[in-house]
Symmetry: C4
Subunit: 253 residues, 4 copies
C-alpha cells in the first residue's frame, strides 16, 4: 500500500512544476491529517491550496481520508479543471474559488462539518478564544446564514453566487461559521489553515464545557490575540510533523 502510494506520488509529481511539488505533498498530508484529527472525518468536507492568483489545487470528489496525489486537480476560479478533463468534482468547490478571488492573502481553505463546531453555527452564542492555540478566533468568526443571504436552499454552496455571498460574510476574518452546515477556515499557509481548523474545533469543545460550568468565563483579550497571531504559527513545524506521523502511520494509509 505504501509502495503504491509512493509510486503514485512519484508519477503525479512529474506532472507538476518543481515549485508545486511540495504543495502536492502538503495537500495530500493535509487531507489525511484533517481526516485523522476529526475535522474532515464526519460528513467530510475538503481542503485546497492556492497555486497562483487564479488557480488552486484540490482533490477530486474523494473522502479526505482516501485522497492520494493522483486525485488532485488544478481548478480555475470558475471551478473548472485547467486541463479541461471531466471529473467528479466537489459540488461546493465554489467555497474555495470565491474566497481565493477576493482574499489575495489566503493561501489555503478548509471546509469542515466538524461536530464540535456545528452547535455554535446554529446557536446565537458566539465562539470566543479560549486559549493560545485558538487565539485567531479573537480576530472574529462571523456566522453565515444562507437563508438570510440567499433564501431557502439545500444549504450547499453549489454556485459561484452563493460562494461569493459566503466570501462576503467571511470578510477579512480567519473563519466563518455556516448555519445548518459547518464552517470554512482560511489562512496564509496550508499548515496554518490546517492548524486553525483543528483548533477551531478544539476551542468549540472547550468553550462548550466552560459555559456548562455555569460561572463567568475569561476569554483571550484582543491584545493577547494580536500578540499570539504575531508569532505566526509558533511551534507549527513540530505540530505538523506529529500530525503527519499520526495520519500517515502504517495501517492508516
Amino acid at each position: 500500500m505504501r509502495i503504491t502510494l509512493a509510486l503514485l506520488l512519484f508519477f503525479s509529481l512529474n506532472a507538476w512544476g518543481e515549485a508545486d511539488r511540495r504543495l502536492v505533498e502538503d495537500l495530500v498530508a493535509a487531507n489525511r491529517i484533517l481526516a485523522h484529527e476529526g475535522v474532515l472525518a464526519e460528513g467530510w468536507g475538503h481542503v485546497s491550496v492556492r497555486l497562483s492568483k487564479d488557480r488552486f489545487l484540490i482533490s477530486q470528489a474523494v473522502a479526505p481520508e482516501m485522497v492520494q496525489a493522483a486525485d488532485l486537480v488544478e481548478l480555475d476560479l470558475a471551478g473548472n479543471p485547467v486541463d479541461g478533463k471531466a471529473r467528479d468534482l466537489y459540488s461546493e468547490r465554489f467555497i474555495h474559488a470565491e474566497i481565493y478571488r477576493v482574499r489575495p492573502d489566503v493561501m489555503s481553505v478548509v471546509h469542515t462539518h466538524a461536530p464540535p463546531v456545528v452547535p455554535f453555527a446554529d446557536s446565537k452564542v458566539p465562539l470566543r478564544p479560549m486559549y493560545a492555540r485558538s487565539a485567531f478566533i479573537g480576530l472574529g468568526v462571523p456566522v453565515f446564514d444562507i437563508r438570510e443571504a440567499i433564501g431557502e436552499t439545500d444549504l450547499l454552496i453549489r454556485t459561484p453566487a452563493i460562494g461569493a455571498a459566503l466570501a462576503r460574510a467571511l470578510g477579512d476574518k480567519p473563519a466563518v461559521l455556516m448555519r445548518g452546515h459547518g464552517a470554512t477556515v482560511v489562512g496564509p499557509s496550508i499548515q496554518r489553515t490546517v492548524s486553525r481548523s483543528i483548533f477551531l474545533a478544539m476551542n468549540a469543545s472547550l468553550q462548550q464545557n466552560a459555559i456548562a460550568l455555569g460561572g463567568p468565563v475569561t476569554y483571550l483579550s484582543p491584545e493577547e490575540t494580536r500578540l499570539v497571531e504575531e508569532r505566526e504559527g509558533h511551534g507549527l513545524k513540530r505540530a505538523w510533523e506529529a500530525w503527519k506521523r499520526r495520519a500517515m502511520a502504517p495501517g492508516k494509509s
Copy 2:
C-alpha cells in the same frame, strides 16, 4: 481472515439469485459499517433489506460487527425463515416485518440503541434538524412509548402486534424514537438508511450540545429540509465507500 470471508461470501452468493447478490454484499457491509460508526456497537440492534413485497434479508442472531454473508436469512412478514430451517433469530425481527408490511416505499430498516439517541427517546425535548446531513429529521421523528400503546412490557418488540403498533407510530416518517429503548430508521435504499442512522445519532449529539450552550438555536426550515431531501442522497456514494473502507479494513474483519 479476509480469504475466509471471501470464500464464505462466494459460496453464500451461489445460493442467491443474480439480482440479490449485490444486496447480500451491501447488507454485510451495512452491518459492519453501522457497528464501526457506533450505531450498532453498544447494545447492538440489527439492519435488514427488503427482497420483495413480502420478503426481507437480515442476519441470524449475531452481533452486527461479526455478521458474514453466511449469517443472512430470508424471512417472510410473519418473521419466519423462508427455507423453514430453525435458527437463532433476533427476537425483535417484527420491527422489520411489520414496517415492510405497511410501508411499500421502505427498502431497508435499522433498529439501533445508539447512545446519543436514547436521551431524546426518553425526553420530551424533540429531535430537530441541525444541519444538511440530517435534514431528514425535519420530516418528523415521532416518539413511540410502548407503555402508552401496549401497557407494561419488557420493552422488546417481540410480537407482530407490538411491531404493528411501532409501525403505526412511525407512520410515513423516516425514523421513530422508542422510549426506554432506542430508535428505528427506514429509507428508500440500504445506503440511505445507513446514512440516516449515522446522522440521526450525530444530530442528537449536535443538538444536545447546541441546547447546552443556552442561547436560541436555529434549526433547518421545512423548506430547507424539503430541498435537501430532493437531492436524494447527494454525496452518498462517496460516503459509502469511505465508511466501507473504514469498517472493512484489514484488522477490522
Copy 3:
C-alpha cells in the same frame, strides 16, 4: 503472545478442578472485557467470581487489561489465599469477601471507577433506569458514603469492617455507588455482572445527557424493570461473544 497465553492457560487449568476451569476462562475474559469496554480501564478496579460458599477467585494485584490465568488466586472470606502463598493482593479485596458473605445469591462482583459513574456517586441526583439494557437500575442503586458510615478515611475498602459496611449499604440491590470512589456491581453470574457493569456506566452517560436536555425525562417503570429482569439476561450470550471478540482480538492481548 497468544501462544504464550494459551500455554499459561493450559497449565493453570491443570491446577483447577474440572468444574472450575470454565470460571477461570470466564474470569480472564471478564477482566479483559471490562478493561476494553472502559469499566476497568481508568483507575482500574477488579472483578471476582464465587467458587463456593466461602471461596472466590480474583486476580492478584494486576491491572485488569493484563490479567492472565496464572494471576488468578483463590481467596477465603477473610481475604487470604487458600494456598497460603504470599502474593501482592488488591487491598480492597474485602469488597468481594464481605459481599459474598452476606449475599448467597451473588456469584460475581465488579468494583469499578468508570468515569460516567463517579459524578452520580458524588451527586445527590439518583441514578435511574434509562432503557432496557440497564433496567436492573430500577431495582435500586443506593449510595454508600464512607464518611457517614465509618468517618474520615483514605476511601479504600481496606478492612473487613469497611467491606461489611459497604455490603450493608448494598443490601439486596444489584449495585451500590461509592461517594468519592466509584461503584460495586453484583449479579447471579459473571456474564450478567459484567453486563450490568457495562450498562451501569452507559446508563449514567445517557441519563447525564437526558438531564442536560432540560425537559422532563421518562424512566423505566417499576413493572418494566421487573419484566426485563425476569428475562434473566436475554441476548447475553450474543453480547458476551462480541465483547470477548473485541477484547481478545489479536493485538489486544
Copy 4:
C-alpha cells in the same frame, strides 16, 4: 522500529551516569504515556525530571509522542543545555527551571494543555477533588492569570521572569491552572507527577459532569485528601506498568 529504539536507548544511556539511566528510561516512558493518555496529545506540552539541585532533564523540542532517549537534554536553571550544544528547545522550558529553583521537593514537572482542564483554567469555578485518584486537588490548585501578573502577552512562559511568576502562583501546591493556556503539575517523583497529570484531567471531566447534573456535589473532605496523600502513591507501580504497556505497545512506538 523497536530495535532501533532499543539501540538508540543503549547508546544514549552510555552518555549518562549509572544513577541517571533509570531517569532517562522513565522520562521517555513518561512522554509516551502522557501522549497516549491524552495529557500531552492535543496542543502538546512537556515533561521533565530533576537530575540535581540545579539540573533537569527534558526533551528537545519534539512532540511527546515521538520523544526518544536521544532527544533528552540536560538543562541548567537558566534553561541552557549543560553541554553547550545548540538545539531547538521548548520555548517554555522556564516553567520547569523556575519551579525547580524554588521547590526543592519537586522532582518532576508536567506542562499540559489537556482539553478537560482548559475550561476550568478559564472559569471562575474552582477545581475540587471528586475521588481518591485525584485527592491531591484538595491540597489546592490555584489559577495563574498571566495578564494580572505580567500584563498583555502572547501567553507563553518564554522568560525566566514569567516562569518565576508562575512558580509564585503555584506556591507549595501540586498543580496550577493557567488561564488561556492549560496547567502545570508537579510531584515528588516522575511517576506521581504523571499520575497527578492524568487524574487532574480526569477529575476535570468528572467534575464537569457532576456540576451538569444540577444537584449538590460532595467533594473529598480536607481530611480525606490528607489521608489519601499519606499513602504516597498507593497502587502506582501497578498503574505505571499498565500505562507503559499501553503507550509502548508494538504499533505505538
